[in-house]
Symmetry: C2
Subunit: 200 residues, 2 copies
Amino acid sequence: MKERISTARKREIVEGFYNLSIVNGLENTSIAKIGKHLDMPPSLIMHYFPTREILISNLIDYILEKYLLIYQPIIKDLEQNESVDASLIVETLFSRNWNLLFDDGVFYSCYALIFRNDKIKKEYRILHEKLRESLKEILDKNKEMEGKDTAVLAEQIFIVVEGAYYYLSMFDDEAAYSQKVTYFKNQVYDLLRKKEAQLL
Amino acid sequence: MKERISTARKREIVEGFYNLSIVNGLENTSIAKIGKHLDMPPSLIMHYFPTREILISNLIDYILEKYLLIYQPIIKDLEQNESVDASLIVETLFSRNWNLLFDDGVFYSCYALIFRNDKIKKEYRILHEKLRESLKEILDKNKEMEGKDTAVLAEQIFIVVEGAYYYLSMFDDEAAYSQKVTYFKNQVYDLLRKKEAQLL
DNA sequence: TATAATATTGAATGAGTGTTCAATATATTT
DNA sequence: AAATATATTGAACACTCATTCAATATTATA
């Protein structure tokens, strides 16, 4: 019972931190502000997260956890069919639903921390490796992929996806945005179509 | 003369800000710390940069200015030859010299600001468009590129480069790093080799 | 040389920071 | 019901923050 209170409070605090960070930025979201937002004294936050660093670490866990949900449409499809076709993969990877899962501003602020914090760097690395492994498994279920090095293919596809999200975040103009997305989707389709297995 | 003092001081301050941010992170680099680092009172910094926001804006100008220097090896080569071959382009884009030009931690911290600051977003967008336009011009000088949509090609190449830098920053292991770089370089070579012009 | 403009200093401001601590309330275990 | 563990409170801490201001030093202009 107390265990439940503890975990519920922790989650409440992390989510409050996250939601405030979306609006104010990670660097401007203080423990006092989180407390005011959630109507609880800062000392209670410190009770569950002894230092701000620990709190940030938990926020990152929370964000990365959400990040893994991208594959949900594909997993859902796999429950009914044996393999997934290319278009569902591409459309899922570039869907804007992704942006709804987590806030890009907070995500990149946390990402920037990898350069000065090895623990965070490792967490990010593990997540990104997971994303690629999952894509490889999905690709391996497809007969058209036989004989291809799906591990390398997954790496190359994700580089396009991640580069695209990075770049496209700079564009507000809907027309320019969607035209560029088309280029990058085609780029992934080309990778999937490529006949020869990737050379080492 | 006074003009010179002013611009020299401004540059000194921005560089101090930048150098401290590399070590402590952008969010932990205060005006007081910059002052102590440069042995000048905070009030002098405020004299040249009335608000912290303006100072950050100038830091971003400074970083983006450095970013544009990637093309230097190619420009140097173009002074002697009429066109640049693919390998110099690919090697330049993936060279680690790039990392020496500016600090990635500071760069991504500043990048994260685009999500809450439209002025910064626009600056970043303009830089990234410039990078692509320059690459297009370089590609256009090459006869092998005739008939290809070099504008789209430049977009697709840069997506790979930027995605790669984002992803590779998570890896410290030299072997894993260089193997992955190989994949991504090949990916760009494939783009350059592709016969058909890109469909709209 | 006198005047105006800019450069530089140092002290002060109030607000906000993360964190600590002792006291109290609530729930769990004995 | 008593003892123990956890949850919650609110006040306080020393410190740092960006920013302001009046005073002084230096340089440029008239």
